[in-house]
Symmetry: C2
Subunit: 418 residues, 2 copies
Amino acid sequence: MDLQEYMLRMGKQAREAAKILAKTPTKVKNQALEAIAQQLRQQQQLLLAANAKDLETGKAKGLDSALLDRLTLNDLRITNLIEGLHQVIALPDPVGAITDLNYRPSGIQVGKMRVPLGVVGMIYESRPNVTAEAAALCLKSGNATILRGGSESIHSNQAIAQCISAGLQAASLPSTAVQVIETTDRAAVGELIRLAKYVDVIIPRGGKSLIERISQEACIPVIKHLDGICHTYIDDQADLDKAITVAYNAKTQRYGTCNTMETLLVAAGIAAQVLPPLAEKYQAAGVELRGCPVTQAILPGIQSATAEDWDTEYLAPILSIRVVKDLDEAMEHICQHGSQHTDAIITENWNRARRFLTEVDSSSVMVNTSTRFADGFEYGLGAEIGISTDKFHARGPVGLEGLTSQKFIVLGDGQIRQ
Amino acid sequence: MDLQEYMLRMGKQAREAAKILAKTPTKVKNQALEAIAQQLRQQQQLLLAANAKDLETGKAKGLDSALLDRLTLNDLRITNLIEGLHQVIALPDPVGAITDLNYRPSGIQVGKMRVPLGVVGMIYESRPNVTAEAAALCLKSGNATILRGGSESIHSNQAIAQCISAGLQAASLPSTAVQVIETTDRAAVGELIRLAKYVDVIIPRGGKSLIERISQEACIPVIKHLDGICHTYIDDQADLDKAITVAYNAKTQRYGTCNTMETLLVAAGIAAQVLPPLAEKYQAAGVELRGCPVTQAILPGIQSATAEDWDTEYLAPILSIRVVKDLDEAMEHICQHGSQHTDAIITENWNRARRFLTEVDSSSVMVNTSTRFADGFEYGLGAEIGISTDKFHARGPVGLEGLTSQKFIVLGDGQIRQ
């Protein structure tokens, strides 16, 4: 197979399919999603068999248990996948929405109409569920998709691709609306990110180094998610109960997620009050604490935080703690060490809350609540295709709207420009 | 001078300035713009002297009259520049606007706050007025700017840069909020478009080949404007008078602009009625017509359009005309040959107008009006920093809002994630 030619053909087919999807009514897109859900249910045994093959290869390759877990499909996960499709069906269709339609002095009306981006290229790890989720979100937002999952999931992905293809055909949509790259050759990714004529956006998911490399090499806009070094700052005018409850939740509700707090900043004026009870809760939950010298003085016996700690996304039951002078020092720390993902302040002081909201340059900025809320479902976007740590186009959780753009529409009755 | 180090320093300074600009109140930004306007007025003789130097070098280099005209500053143009600054002062400040703030079932409120992109890198031709206009739009939207004009305008740009710097200082803003690259070394552009850590977006203006090269090589998002091959389609249910008035205006109101119609598509059923009177008007205005065979049969004596004509942005008094069967053939032609810039339909038929609006994938899609309206001023955006033919982030005329992004804000009262 000539890889370049293969990817070029895929790109062209996606572009053609995108034209059709862009004008496909909501009802038909939902019919296709429903048909895909039915296919996944009907082909459940086939999916599990394909997945078993991947798992076998993965074990032989020596994948660690976390990777094997992400690769695994089982009855429950397939049911969840199908449930996810139904959630996407229930979401409002963003395409075609017209906003800001106003008369201009010339007599024309100018407004904006929401339209699909066109063709989305997804590059992700060996997680078969992403294949179905990404396809569903792109389909609902009127975009064609080219999907490239990790090589360990190739059989599972092909089995899911067959279900998607059959579902699309059942709704009389082109099966090329969702294409799964069938080769595990890594060079296919290199080709995909250079198909500027046929692909409108690349969404990579996975390790930071992979995403950095793709961003460097792509000739196409990238919606990227690098790391999540999230902070909670407990101001000296914080409510103690709220501070303890929220800071505990932000770290311990889940450890491996990008919106988990990794560093706790505490104002010097409240540190001696808030840190001991909070540390007790963390330690009871098995969280390892690493502190600055002032923190260590308040919490004797904890490890000292090194310079590296402030720049680390642990994704684990570890928390670095720093006592800062005031809001300014907290914001300076976040600016220096944060990843512009999600940062929160706990305070009852109106002015400081307003300053934090305005001045912290992160995709989600929060007052008196847990960073763990930074998530498409919690924000009411429905599912999310990713979380963007960029500022361009989409910031934060990217749902259906982030997969669309707006064109201007101009309505007249014979007006001409003078 | 070590160019790489020079550009790196410029990038770092811009990033520092951007932090300050992001939290600068509207009033102070307007004071700076006002002070810049005053400086331009006070330093008018100095500007003209610097410009005379550029013009002399330009003439010696053999620049053609169009380029020399764009390079020229004179009393009227400086007055227009100052007037342009006052218009930017009058525009509403987009920064800080909060939208879609809604309660979620968890009790948190989630909304979006508009924020500056950060640092904008502008690369443009030898047009000194762009230096002041771009600086003003970026400043008002809270962005720091690094400006790189064509080498022929270097003295004019440096003189304008001094006015800007003095104006910024008068408002106690860092003079590094707007930086003009002081070397004419082309390698500076290559460095600028790779300063991914310090520059958030590149806006190139100029020839298509330059923009294509920058887009290929940049490691930073680019807001780009390639070509404007704009169409007007006269449907067979068009009002004849409107069709003639609008199609005449779309071609002849100005020839050299990107939103000028370059190809007229006419439905077969109305061609014999509409083309003869329209051709008479075009020919009286000196527009050269090039037609498909059917057009030539209706308008004997006109040149035949070659395959190349349909893909050409003339920017001149030349118009290609094609008779098409119906709306579908017209939209197919636009899809094949258009540049997704601006396209219009003239029709009284409701359903066809709706289909054209939905199905034509251009940054501006119009019904019964002139493509010449596709412009930031006419759309009510105020000035525009460019017109984007991309779909990502901003489409069509890019004003202040296109220079901003939105972050999520989350307000709570101690809520935690369950």
